[in-house]
């Protein structure tokens, strides 16, 4: 049983550009993990997997942020790229997809003339017209239903919920029609719709506008959920979600829209089901997503100073979980802390804890610690609001306790 033979095929580095080299420190390294394989994009075109980043160079339309006039012939990440804010990255992704496929359209409140309440769709209505970037009346249930009906015929609508909390009004359409139609029609209808919008706790927005309700959607069969956290993955996930044949809910965060980052000029699409390795480490695995990633990284700084080596993974894909990345990390570190902004009861962390326990029980040296936001409506007062969500100090304390 000792000999190891090569694995043929199907290996690839993570497609996340700004993660460091993914290290699998298993007892015996799998030699020759490179192999031939093909990545099939959802339009059916095969691509050689090693050349994961680059399809072709593209001329971008001018946008608000000046881009460097690069010739992106490099096959690796361009060092130049251009800097932009997260909402601009989302817009760039959306715009590229709308250029690429005339059936991609946007619907939502104030997305057209106003440019989007978070400026994600600014300028798109002028460019593509009123029908393609549709200002809807305030009727979430109906315009979500409308988007689903349109998707049944082949359109690819991107529905913007001005705040994810408003999606609760459309829950029937999302759960029954969006998620189930592919199944109940025996495969006849595909619903390639993207539902996106900001959620999470903001700056004193009040209880109804600070909802973290990823938990409500996670048991709907037939949908996928992703959460973006950086401009790089925001653009990549937006593009992937639009190209996906399945309905995708893309969770953005109100406080992350003004994050600035340098992203590549070349076109890239990320994988919807993949997690991102933010910081490799040895002692403990910290799983997080969306805004909590930044709290975790802040805590990680403190932890490093104290001598710990946390491995931070941004899970990104909330449904389904990327148990491969997570599993490998657990096998390495044997300790897990989940840090999330979701509600404690029945939240993403709760499901992830159950998943990890089921699959990797033998690898855990200690019970999984799940830090979630409190099961309370978000209060208005600033000090109370701060303690609704997980703070870096709590993360440090939890890690220290777990690593004893």
């Amino acid at each position: 049983m000792a000999a190891v033979t090569q694995g043929l095929g199907a290996t690839a580095a993570l497609s996340s550009a700004n993660s460091e080299k993914f290290q699998l420190t298993t007892r015996r390294s799998l030699s020759g993990r490179k192999g031939r394989f093909f990545i099939f994009e959802s339009n059916g075109n095969p691509r050689s997997g090693l050349n994961r980043q680059i399809n072709r160079t593209r001329q971008f339309f001018t946008n608000a942020v000046a881009t460097k006039p690069d010739s992106a012939a490099a096959s690796t990440l361009s060092k130049h790229g251009h800097e932009l804010l997260l909402f601009e990255a989302l817009r760039e992704g959306l715009e590229e997809e709308m250029d690429r496929d005339p059936y991609v359209c946007v619907m939502g409140e104030d997305v057209g003339h106003y440019g989007g309440s978070y400026k994600v769709t600014k300028g798109l209505a002028d460019k593509y017209g009123d029908l393609r970037v549709l200002d809807t009346p305030i009727a979430e249930n109906s315009f979500t239903g409308m988007a689903i009906g349109a998707a049944m015929t082949g359109l690819r609508p991107v529905v913007e919920g001005m705040n994810m909390g408003f999606l609760l009004l459309a829950f029937n359409q999302i759960s029954n029609n969006c998620g189930m139609l592919h199944y109940t029609s025996g495969g006849q209808f595909k619903i390639p719709v993207v539902i996106r919008g900001p959620g999470g706790v903001g700056r004193q927005l009040g209880a109804e506008h600070s909802q973290r309700l990823e938990s409500y959607f996670q048991s709907i069969p037939g949908i996928q959920m992703v959460a973006c956290s950086t401009p790089y993955n925001a653009k990549g996930l937006m593009k992937a979600a639009i190209r996906s044949e399945n309905p995708v809910i893309l969770f953005e965060h109100v406080l992350l829209y003004n994050l600035k980052e340098r992203i590549p000029d070349e076109e890239y699409v990320l994988n919807l089901e993949e997690a991102e390795m933010v910081r490799p480490g040895e002692h403990i695995t910290i799983l997080t997503y969306s805004r909590m990633r930044y709290h975790v990284m802040q805590a990680a700084k403190t932890l490093v100073n104290k001598g710990y080596d946390p491995e931070v993974i941004d899970i990104r894909s909330l449904k389904p979980f990327d148990l491969y990345t997570i599993g490998n990390s657990v096998k390495k570190t044997h300790r897990v802390v989940i840090v999330e902004e979701c509600m404690r009861t029945g939240g993403i962390g709760a499901s992830l804890t159950a998943s990890i326990n089921e699959n990797f029980h033998d690898y855990l040296d200690a019970p999984i610690v799940c830090l979630s936001s409190q099961d309370v409506p978000t209060p208005y007062a600033a000090s109370l609001e701060e303690w609704t969500v997980v703070q870096p100090a709590q993360i440090v304390a939890a890690v220290e306790q777990l690593c004893q």
Binding site: A139, F143, M146, N176, Q188, F189, E245, N246, L272, E273
Partner: protein
Amino acid sequence: MAHLTRRTADLLKPFSVALSSMRLLTTTSTTPITVETSLPFTGHKIDPPSRSVETTPQELMTFFRDMALMRRMEIAADSLYKAKLIRGFCHLYDGQEAVAVGMEAAITKKDCIITAYRDHCIFLGRGGTLLECFSELMGRKDGCSKGKGGSMHFYKKDSGFYGGHGIVGAQIPLGCGLAFAQKYSKDENVTFALYGDGAANQGQLFEALNMAALWDLPAILVCENNHYGMGTAEWRAAKSPAYYKRGDYVPGLKVDGMDVFAVKQACKFSKEHALKNGPIILEMDTYRYHGHSMSDPGSTYRTRDEISGVRQERDPIERIRKLVLSHDLATEKELKDIEKEVRKNVDEAIAQAKESPMPEPSELFTNVYVKGYGVEVRLLSYIYFIVRYSVCFDFFLLLSAKVTEDALYLNLLTCDRYMLFSSPVSGVVNICSFSCMPCLTVSMMDQGFC
């Protein structure tokens, strides 16, 4: 009743041989006959169309046959339900056949129809077969939704039938979405979104109406008013039962839904209107003989006299029968023969459907997601990986296996697990390259389940 404008057939009555040969000619002929609808149309903010409808003998016979088929199918479904071959909910459409048949006569298969759960006959009208219908009702593999949908989820994408929806009123925004897509693609087709008098009180109807009117979507909202929302009569549920007027700024038309020609005329008229001017509401005044569903006897909230009264005076099939007989297009016996033939077809379809197998267990997991979901996931079956299993559970030996792709796929999604082989197995296992990760994410299927 109908006014006759052709009386030549009467003159030939004594000559039976000549008459029968003439009749054979006329049943398939396309010489136009003008028929008047039973009642005039009532319009709301629109001039109603004329009461005179052009039809042909061929069309008349087709109407008779189609409606007889639908009626027979629903009665047969009733018996099957009582025999416990159909389970769950079964909502029958008998009495309302004229709406389905009249609508089909006015439109093409490129126009879309979407309706609620009383969808068996509309599915048939759109080109569905009896076998698909009964198989789906009995939950068999040959059903139109592979047995996974049931009575309330009939769909036929290639002929523009979008279902089949269980939640009251939820199909109306979907219907507006279909119309939106038609406007987007500029293909000069319309969408008929059907709903009932019960659903007419849903907020989403008005939301959808507002949007359809705002953007001039080619949507025709058809209220099939059978006067009872489940067990509640319309006067007990609606302050204003004039459903065709509820559109306010959207024009409406009230139609006698038991008269197939009125329905045909109204649908033709609305199609022209919708393509030019945007949405319109049609209220079809119709009636269902059965209760709301098979679990509702249908007589606790209405009298049997009422039901039999409607059956005597307004039954759509009887109306066509009288028309056919008075135009001498067929004899009583010939009509009875058609009904017998229809009954035979239905019985054969039921027998065939009963033979159809149940879906495979692996079908539990198929069609939850579309294959190739995400950008780069693709199930690679029959790929041979040889990674030897070590004592430390790091590697495992896998061989390629014959398991359905979909089942494996979904297993990864729902079960989110992978299992390690504890020893080299001599069998074969499918390997999924999950998001282009190394092959270690694998699931072992035991008869299709994880």
